[in-house]
């Protein structure tokens, strides 16, 4: 099924376990930066509704404003215009229920993997009661043996998994992923994509993923939001009702991929 247009009514994802995620609503969100006194428009009236437990991918050319949008959702910056709501409440700052996994793992080099993962609980004074959970998160991403290693002793994939554990340990209702797999080699990438899906299915958070990889967006998400060049506008939404776990060879995914490329204006090359 393919639904185009920003106002498309979205069907719920096809998961059967209880959903703990948050809803996210963007109303006419615009944002601009100041560049040498000149306003640089980056986001142009973005409106979006994400339901509880949905996995939505934002797909757009590099530099179009995807990371900026995620920073607004995370509460790290305030929008120039429009409003963002989580579970009906206006976002007015960062909150541990909305955790970002950045493009760069940015682990603290002076902390061991364990202490990096413990960052959230420690920041909120919950270290005493959360030890078990930190161990669980490390096990989940397969880094138990590296708890005492320093970040410079990890490979790129391991660092990214540590960053994922650092986010998950906070039990987020909304997980914000900014091209988290962009720097990984294709093999690690495919493994981590599958891991992400099974994690999401098990935990039940709402996920908002930024990517510029069409296959990745279709493999992971139940809805792909296609953005235009900067200033980003929503160009189309492509809904993917295929049940999870998906198979990369699924001919339906290939059809959807064609559709997404068309929305990106790249169908001539297909």
């Amino acid at each position: 099924m393919v639904v185009a247009g920003a106002s498309a009514e979205v069907t719920r994802s096809t998961r059967d376990n209880p959903v703990r995620g948050a809803t996210l609503t963007l109303r006419e969100v615009s944002h601009h930066f100041d560049l040498d006194g000149q306003p640089l428009p980056v986001l142009d009236r973005i409106s979006l509704r994400i339901s509880r437990g949905e996995f939505v991918a934002l797909l757009g050319p590099s530099g179009c404003g995807k990371s900026t949008l995620l920073r607004l959702v995370a509460g790290l910056n305030a929008p120039s215009a429009g409003s963002l709501l989580v579970d009906g409440e206006v976002i007015d700052g960062p909150d541990p229920s909305r955790v970002v996994v950045f493009q760069d793992p940015t682990l603290y080099p002076w902390r061991t993997v364990w202490n990096n993962v413990a960052l959230g609980p420690e920041a909120r004074g919950l270290l005493g009661t959360h030890r078990e959970r930190i161990e669980d998160a490390l096990r989940l991403v397969g880094l138990t043996g590296f708890a005492n290693a320093y970040p410079h002793q990890l490979s790129g994939g391991m660092s990214q998994r540590a960053a994922l554990a650092r986010a998950l340990v906070n039990d987020p209702k909304l997980l914000i992923l900014d091209e988290p797999l962009g720097q990984l080699d294709s093999l690690t990438r495919i493994t981590m994509q599958s891991e992400l899906v099974s994690l999401w299915q098990r935990v039940g958070f709402t996920a908002l993923l930024v990517t510029h990889d069409v296959e990745e967006s279709l493999f992971l998400s139940s809805r792909v939001v296609v953005l235009s060049e900067r200033p980003a506008q929503i160009r189309a939404e492509v809904v993917n009702t295929r049940p999870y776990p998906r198979h990369r060879g699924d001919p339906h995914l290939a059809e959807l991929r064609h559709e997404v490329f068309a929305r990106l204006g790249l169908d001539a090359t297909w």
Binding site: A74, V99, T106, Y108, W110, A123, H152, R166
Partner: protein
């Protein structure tokens, strides 16, 4: 490094045999150094001093050199059995050079009398001072250490706090930064006349000066460290629910620590200079004062002994700071050239 090299070399080596093994090399090197020091002892003891300047401690100095030689023999032999002792081997070139230097010094001063006295006393004269005057040297060392430690710790603490404040808060930066820019580059010793006049005791005046000399580099480096922290580190912590306090203490400070240590090293260097000047000009105690006193009495052997003690003190403190850094910043080991 050396242990790896040793391990590599102690692998199978068919042709060369025992003589090329690390054990043999360290034995030969150690024995050579030992022989050199025994040679110094022999020259000192057997070659009579120049008649008109008969030194009291020539025998004691010869005994000391012989003792060094004997210790090296023991270390060389122990090195055959215990790999730990083989570290002596790395010091062998230095031990040989030092033996040569001491022998030349001994011959030129005590034996031949080529250098004018009292400006260039022989080694046994310095040994004499160390043996006869060690109580005053020790007291001087303790006094210097007390003054330096107090001033340095106060200066480092204030500098650290000020640096973090400037790096973190706009208000603190607005008020402290101009003061720092204006007053900071002034050498702390320029305050000396004023400080001795304003402060009740010369000791407190010196503490102020040392603290000032330490505080400036520590402030500037801490500040630049905090200002240079990757802003993504803050973003991460903020999305995870960190308070301002957490951002300062658990993100800014640890991230700035490598810079802070550069400031601490620079501060330690300048604080030595201020310490000696303050002791020479105001405080009637400490190694600087001892140096001044020795010069006044033309007691040049005492001066050399005081200089030697001072060098040991300063390099000891620097080593201590290096150890502290190695402990606190061990996470850097894989990131920078250590």
């Amino acid at each position: 490094m050396s242990s790896i090299a040793d391990e590599v070399r102690s692998g199978p080596k068919p042709a060369s045999g025992f003589l090329a093994s690390p054990a043999a090399l360290s034995l030969i090197g150690g024995l050579a150094a030992a022989a050199a020091w025994c040679g110094v002892a022999a020259i000192t003891a057997l070659w009579p001093d120049k008649p008109e300047s008969d030194w009291d401690y020539t025998g004691a100095f010869a005994a000391l050199c012989a003792a060094v030689g004997l210790a090296l023999v023991l270390a060389a032999i122990a090195g055959v059995r215990f790999t730990r002792m083989r570290r002596v081997r790395q010091a062998v070139p230095w031990l040989l050079a030092l033996a040569l230097f001491v022998a030349a010094w001994e011959v030129i001063t005590a034996k031949l009398g080529w250098l004018p006295l009292p400006f260039f006393p022989p080694p046994q004269a310095i040994l004499e001072v160390i043996i006869d005057d060690w109580t005053r040297l020790g007291e001087g060392t303790i006094a210097s250490l007390r003054l330096l430690a107090t001033g340095y710790l106060i200066g480092a603490a204030i500098g650290f706090v000020a640096g973090v404040a400037i790096g973190w808060s706009r208000h603190a930066s607005y008020w402290i930064h101009p003061v720092l820019r204006f007053v900071g580059p002034l050498p702390a010793t320029a305050w000396l006349p004023l400080a001795f006049f304003v402060f009740p005791t010369s000791f407190s005046a010196s503490i102020f000066l040392i603290a000032l000399a330490t505080g400036f580099p520590v402030t500037v480096l801490t500040w630049s460290g905090v200002a240079g922290v990757n802003s993504a580190y803050y973003d991460i912590a903020r999305t995870l629910g960190a308070s301002q306090r957490f951002l300062v203490l658990k993100v800014a400070v640890p991230a700035a620590m490598p810079h802070v240590f550069v400031g601490l090293f620079m501060g330690l260097g300048t604080s030595f200079a201020v310490l000696v000047v303050a002791e020479m000009l105001g405080v009637k105690a400490g190694l600087g004062w001892y140096l001044q006193w020795a010069q006044g009495w033309a007691a040049y052997a005492n001066m050399y002994a005081a200089l030697l003690t001072m060098a040991l003190l300063c390099s000891g403190l620097i080593t201590l700071l290096f150890r502290l850094r190695d402990r606190l910043l061990s996470w850097q080991k894989g990131l920078v050239r250590w």
